[in-house]
């Protein structure tokens, strides 16, 4: 066993002398079922009398629907129902989204807004018949000019995407913190870059699944499937369908990945309406892969940036300006628009930048609507910011690591409030950098690079950093919709019950996926009550029985659920302690839990083991103290501390923890093909106490792979008619195990002073950092030729084109 970092913690809250599970590489209990496919995934679910749905989608990016004839489809044997836009419009409100008013209905009504938008849905005996029926639906389309150019959309040119609007600019706001103008006016050096980050998205191995059933007798709706957070989709259902939450019950299945896309509010609404029309028969829709690529509201971050950094001669960064314009696609569904404002929560990254301006906009185009994707808009931000730092270092002749060191927030400055109001809880960025440089042997790498350059090889190096906010609270969403989000709560709850033998059932509100909550909840509770890990069973509640909770969003689970589980354990210990006081004939104030037994302070011989106390509590109602019921059960809802609504300037305490990362990348560009080969990749991550180090490594390596996808491979490409050209995995390229390099990962631990066990949120951080690390290294490799890549992904063709430009320029 490793030395346990918990033991060193001032806020070490586990009443055990030596934790046995927390901080250890406990194998994930989720793994055997998930990895062998034995878990009951949504598509495995079968219900008696269940029908299968298929969706007809618009072939046009923008077209008026002059008429729909479903009669031939309805006449096909095996077809139970066909639902079209007019019925959807009559029975529901548009799909929920913030800011309000920028979405359509769950089916296209008067016109279609992107190629792939649902136009009709069929329920039939099986999916084959359902797809046959789609071919029998006749839609009379009048093609309209599509809006495909976001820059024109921002300038007010071209067709308007949404009926009833006179603009395509859905959201625009310029945030200014500090005296940016003066800093730029007085700068010794200003570096600029215009850049383009193309669309990509989360692509879980399991697509979205929803099984809906309407009970006509008690007027209730039951949903099952791959829903990641019941209480996040519930408001969308309530808002669109006009039902009360008490009429809706959502059961979640284990997830084969989510990465943010498993909310699919549009389809949940659509399936619910179809189920209502079916009047009792359950209906299942399993999104197919092309639907996922072209039809879900799941594309992300399609950004045009103009960026500038003001720097002093000594390398001090004094101000940054970034303009980010996001080509958002057809609608602003659900919470997706939040991705454009999230950069203000960590705008300066690891650096003491006193002034910055963030001018952001989200515009509508006739493309797939964006939705949340792991990283929630931060990867492109660091990809811009870190490149500016490198450009400044180059101009000043400074080493890339040293300019960063010079600007780091210092270890004695925490808690550190950045100009946009967020508070970084703790960190030691210089120590992280030193660890990285030492482990990578940075000096030797620079020599290797110099030697390679002498041979004419294009070898590049980078050192980049990032901050990963461990959960971002609802005040950020209030920036988009003060009406919907005048709230500071971002709850995560847990119900905890003990039986008469000291065994526990801990109930969480979101399903198995990549978050490892079943494993780490077990670890914490087993240590708290000094029982075996197997004595703790973690179960998933449905929407009607779960505690308030947002589930796995914004790197929050270790922080939020980790807070909930310790909070619940404390409450249970208090409750049991009052019973133990009766058993031990002591004052309740003198009884404490230690190493699995309640003992009288100062007289440890007088003690009662936890199971005995729980058993007594259940068995001897006659002995229970006043106000204590005979039930060793509690619930606790954690909320982020010190959150407040954003002020007029947009300042708030948005996060809870600030995990820091520093990555080094060394790569070589092939002069002839433009291909990139990663030679060395080293990362250091400081997410405080690692509750389960192997889970943390899994999060880091997984998000690194997705970051590599953004850096080099993944892009949704549209033609000038708004047709998506990358509708299969032959053209939308995610890195496979053959492309992801072997990564050296080193742990740094600056415990968080604000979380239950010193942990910090981790899950998105490597995805924040890797695109920047790869691009900065590519541009370092290309630097001797005087060319520069300002697009993500940096495809071989783009790099080759830049090399051609270098070859032909004088």
């Amino acid at each position: 066993m490793n030395a346990n970092p918990l033991s060193e913690l001032p806020q070490h809250q586990l009443p055990i002398s030596q934790p046995r599970y927390v901080g250890q590489d406990v194998p994930r209990i989720e793994d055997p079922l998930l990895l062998t496919g034995r878990a009951e995934f949504g598509d495995n679910i079968h219900k008696t009398g269940m029908l299968h749905a298929a969706i007809l989608r618009s072939p046009y990016a923008h077209a008026r629907i002059r008429g729909i004839d479903t009669s031939r489809a309805e006449a096909l044997p095996g077809v139970a129902a066909v639902l079209v836009g007019a019925e959807v419009k009559a029975q529901s409100r548009p799909v929920f989204g913030i800011p309000e008013g920028w979405t359509g209905h769950a089916l296209a009504v008067e016109k279609t807004h992107w190629a792939g938008e649902p136009v009709a849905i069929v329920a039939a005996e099986d999916r084959y018949v359902a797809e046959d029926a789609l071919e029998l639906i006749e839609v009379d389309y009048e093609p309209l000019e599509p809006m495909v150019n976001a820059l024109e959309a921002a300038d007010g040119k071209g067709p308007v995407v949404l009926e009833g609007k006179d603009t395509n600019v859905m959201y625009a706001r310029k945030f200014t913190f500090g005296d940016v103008d003066t800093a730029f006016a007085e700068a010794d050096l200003v570096v600029n870059e215009d850049s383009r980050w193309h669309r990509s998205a989360g692509n879980p191995i399991e697509t979205c699944v929803c099984i809906a059933r309407w009970d006509p007798f008690d007027q209730s709706l039951t949903l099952e499937g791959s829903h990641r957070s019941p209480l996040l989709v519930m408001p969308a259902l309530v808002g669109a369908l006009g039902l009360s939450p008490t009429q809706i019950r959502i059961y979640t299945s284990p997830l084969g990945g989510s990465f943010g896309v498993k909310t699919f509010a549009r389809y949940v609404i659509l399936l619910s309406l179809l189920a209502k029309k079916l009047g009792g028969r359950p209906v299942k829709w399993t999104e197919d892969r092309i639907e996922h690529l072209a039809g879900n509201s799941s594309h992300a971050w399609d950004r045009h940036h103009n960026a500038a950094m003001a720097v002093r001669q000594d390398g001090t960064i004094t101000a940054v300006r970034i303009r980010a314009m996001d080509d958002f696609g057809a609608f602003g569904e659900w919470l997706g628009v939040g991705q454009i404002v999230k950069p203000i929560t960590i705008f300066p990254g690891c650096y003491r930048i006193p002034a910055y301006e963030y001018d952001c906009a989200a515009v509508l185009t006739n493309k797939v609507p964006q939705g949340p994707y792991r990283g929630f808009g931060l990867p492109s931000h660091y990809w811009v910011l870190e490149q500016l730092v490198d450009l400044a270092a180059e101009k000043l002749g400074m080493d890339r690591a040293e300019i960063r060191r010079k600007n780091f927030i210092r270890r004695d400055e925490f808690p550190y409030t950045i100009p946009s109001g967020n508070v970084y809880d703790s960190g030691d960025y210089e120590a992280g950098l030193d660890l990285l440089l030492e482990k990578a042997d940075y000096a030797a790498l620079k020599e290797q690079q110099a030697a390679a350059r002498k041979q004419g090889r294009l070898v590049g190096l980078s050192v980049v950093t990032s901050i990963e906010p461990g959960l971002t609270g609802t005040p950020m969403l209030g920036l988009l919709s003060p009406r919907m989000f005048s709230r500071t709560s971002s709850p995560e709850g847990m119900a905890l019950r003990m039986d008469g033998f000291g065994k526990m059932i801990a109930q969480v509100g979101f399903p198995w996926g990549g978050q490892s909550q079943h494993t780490f909840v077990r670890q914490i509770l087993a240590d708290y009550f000094a029982v075996k890990a197997e004595d703790v069973q973690v179960v998933v509640a449905d929407s009607s029985t779960m505690q308030p909770g947002m589930g796995p969003v914004s790197s929050r689970i270790a922080v939020a659920l980790g807070g909930a589980v310790v909070g619940a354990a404390k409450l249970l210990a208090e409750k049991l302690g009052r019973v133990a006081a009766v058993m031990l004939e002591a004052d309740p104030g003198d009884v404490e839990l230690k190493d699995g037994a309640f003992q009288v302070r100062g007289a440890p011989a007088r003690s009662a083991p936890v199971p005995q106390v729980a058993g007594f509590m259940l068995a001897r109602a006659d002995k229970l103290p006043e106000g204590v019921d005979g039930n060793p059960e509690v619930s606790f809802v954690w909320n982020p501390p010190d959150h407040y609504l954003a002020d007029e300037q947009g300042r708030s305490h948005y996060g809870v923890t600030a995990t820091s990362a520093v990555h080094l990348c060394m790569l070589e560009v092939d002069h002839g093909t433009g291909q990139v080969e990663i030679l060395r990749y080293v990362m250091v991550d400081d997410c405080g106490v690692r509750l389960n180090p192997s889970v943390v490594r899994g999060q880091l390596l997984g998000s690194l792979a997705q970051g590599l996808g953004n850096a080099l491979y993944e892009e949704y490409v549209y033609d000038d008619q708004g047709q998506l050209l990358t509708t299969t995995y032959m053209d939308y390229l995610m890195p496979t195990v053959m492309e992801v390099p072997v990564v050296e990962e080193y742990e740094q631990c600056t415990p968080s002073p604000v979380t239950s066990l010193g942990q910090k949120g981790v899950g998105e951080g490597a995805l924040h950092t890797t695109p920047a690390a790869v691009r900065c290294a590519i541009n370092d490799a290309l630097h001797p030729l005087g060319v520069h890549i300002a697009e993500a992904p940096a495809t071989p063709f783009r790099i080759w084109s830049a090399l051609q430009a270098a070859a032909t320029s004088p």
Binding site: E131, L733, E739
Partner: protein, 296 residues
């Protein structure tokens, strides 16, 4: 992603197979490994009324020696045999080397060699190898068998000279010229993807290495079919295998190519890739990095 209704046949003999094809002609499609056909069916891009599954047809799953140093491969032999079958590895190791570029292990375990040839994707590896190695295709129908040189087999993108009533029952790779060293290179965005451009090159040189005795050069992924640079092969004979000779040969071999653009790059990029890879492949042959064929 479900196919429309079709009729399914699972014949046990070749005569039964060709009889079904004769009856259904245009409406029938042969299913072997299914690695290209099934996605096309599921996306409803191919809509055959009849599917003729040849996986249970006897005697089509064999690899046998063919002539001096060559091999004949039956219609249902899987691509994994290219790097697993002893006869193939012994006689034509270049096929084993090149097979690592074909998709992934799962694909090679199902996909057939003849299926890839009959599908005729110009970015696939096997058609290019067949042309470079001067393979012969055996097409069977109810009216008998015809043997077609690979050079005449491929017509255009996904198009061969096979009639709807024919099935490709065997491909015969002759033994390659003695002493020829081969190289196979391709560029794809990721390992296992279809090539943006690729090249099969073979060189044999005089004993002292000072002059080229024979050359083979086929580029692929850059036109509707694999492109053999016969004139360049002929021009190389007698020349010294210097960098400048090989570079000029690569330029000449790719000069007239006009590949289409797609989401991965422009036509000019693909042509440049073909040229770069050709130089590298010829250099690899010269420097014995290529795969030497056993002298026969």
């Amino acid at each position: 992603m479900k196919p429309p209704r079709f009729e399914y046949f699972s014949p046990r003999s070749l005569s039964e197979t060709v009889a079904i094809l004769a009856e259904h002609g245009d409406g029938a499609k042969v299913l072997a490994g299914g690695q290209s056909l099934l996605p096309l069916l599921n996306m409803r891009l191919a809509r055959p009324s009849v599917l003729v599954d040849i996986n249970r047809v006897s005697r089509l799953d064999t690899v046998r020696p063919h002539g001096t140093g060559g091999v004949a491969i039956g219609a249902t032999v899987r691509q994994r045999s290219l790097h697993g079958d002893p006869t193939l590895l012994d006689r034509l190791p270049i096929l084993g080397t090149a097979s690592q570029f074909i998709g992934h292990q799962q694909i090679r375990s199902r996909g057939t060699i003849c299926g890839s040839l009959a599908h005729a994707d110009p970015a696939a590896e096997l058609p290019a190898l067949a042309v470079a190695l001067e393979a012969e295709m055996v097409a069977s129908s109810a009216s008998g068998e015809r043997v077609l040189p690979a050079a005449d087999f491929f017509v255009d993108y996904l198009t061969t000279v096979l009639e709807p009533t024919e099935v490709l029952t065997e491909v015969r790779f002759p033994g390659p010229p003695a002493g020829m060293r081969w190289a196979f290179l391709e560029m794809s965005r990721r390992h296992g993807d279809f090539a943006l451009a690729g090249v099969v090159a073979g060189l044999s040189t005089s004993d002292d290495g000072s002059s080229i005795k024979a050359a083979r050069l086929v580029v692929f992924g850059v036109a509707g079919t694999p492109v053999r640079a016969s004139a360049v092969e002929a021009a190389l004979v007698g020349q010294p295998p210097t960098d400048s000779v090989l570079t000029d040969a690569a330029a000449e071999a790719t000069r007239l190519l006009d590949p289409p653009a797609d989401v991965h790059g422009s036509g000019a990029y693909r042509r440049a890739l073909a040229q770069t890879l050709t130089v590298r492949a010829l250099q690899a042959c010269r420097e014995s990095h290529g795969t030497a064929e056993p002298a026969t």
